[in-house]
């Protein structure tokens, strides 16, 4: 694999992780977490673990983002810390 691609994806993973931790809006944090898990899925597919990448794409980027959004919908959207 071209190393520039891997570097860009790794950089995006780090940026999405730090953004999901630092953002104040919980809905935005859950969306950033979905982006993080999709980038992680790409990274695993690059490394050759296709089964793990499949699981990450379906569970991490698909269902868990929806569950986070549903939980945010039922609780508050702003964090206090």
């Amino acid at each position: 694999m071209i190393w520039q691609f891997e570097f860009i994806i790794l950089l995006l993973v780090v940026i999405c992780g730090i953004g999901a931790l630092s953002v104040k809006d919980l809905l935005g944090a859950s969306i950033l977490f979905g982006a993080y898990s999709f980038m992680m899925c790409l990274l695993w597919a690059i490394m050759g673990a296709v089964d793990v990448a499949f699981t990450e794409a379906s569970v991490g980027a698909g269902v868990s983002t929806v569950l986070f959004v549903a939980a945010v919908f039922r609780t508050s959207r702003r964090t206090r810390d």
């Binding site: 296709v50 089964d51 699981t55 379906s58 569970v59 698909g62 269902v63 929806v66």
Partner: protein, 209 residues
Amino acid sequence: MFETAVIFSAGIACLILLRVFTPKTRASRLYRHKSTGVTIRIEQGGKLPESSRDFERIDSSWVPYDMIVNTGCRLMVPFIQLFALYVIAHGHHSPGGGFQGGVIYGSAVILYAISMDLRSAVEQFGEKMTAFSQFIGCPALCRHRLPVPPAGGRIPQLQRPGGPFGSRSDHGPLHGILIVEVGVGMAVMAVMASLYYLLSSAGKFDEGL
């Protein structure tokens, strides 16, 4: 296969923690006249147009109605379900399997619930059905004690000939694995759907996201 035990206990724990049984007295409800789009509110004790064809019930916190979203998601849902069945059925010799296919099937149910309504999704795939699927799918764990298939007459086994830790080889009793995968897929699909129902409706199964 222990992912089924984990996901099963997660579903049961979420059910115990979140499910609330509301008393019979209800708050006011909103109804929409289908052809004109006029929304009416019926207070507590009023007569409900449940059997009327002209009115449909809408959520009090999520009123927007979009025909494009409805129709597009209704067209997409069967194909997502077909893809999930493909992933389950081809899990032996390609990436995928019962867990991933079950998650994709559950996300199809969730997409239906988001695009239409929580109540219409519960009407299709209700609470009793989710519990039943979980309890049917979970005994797939006891893989050596599966019932003997009537035709073959031998107990399906998950372990294949080959190296340790389930290293893949092309010869093996694939039908037993397929039964286990279908069971895992059913359990995971039911757990995903019931997790979404419980989280989005705060345990009431009435009005949701």
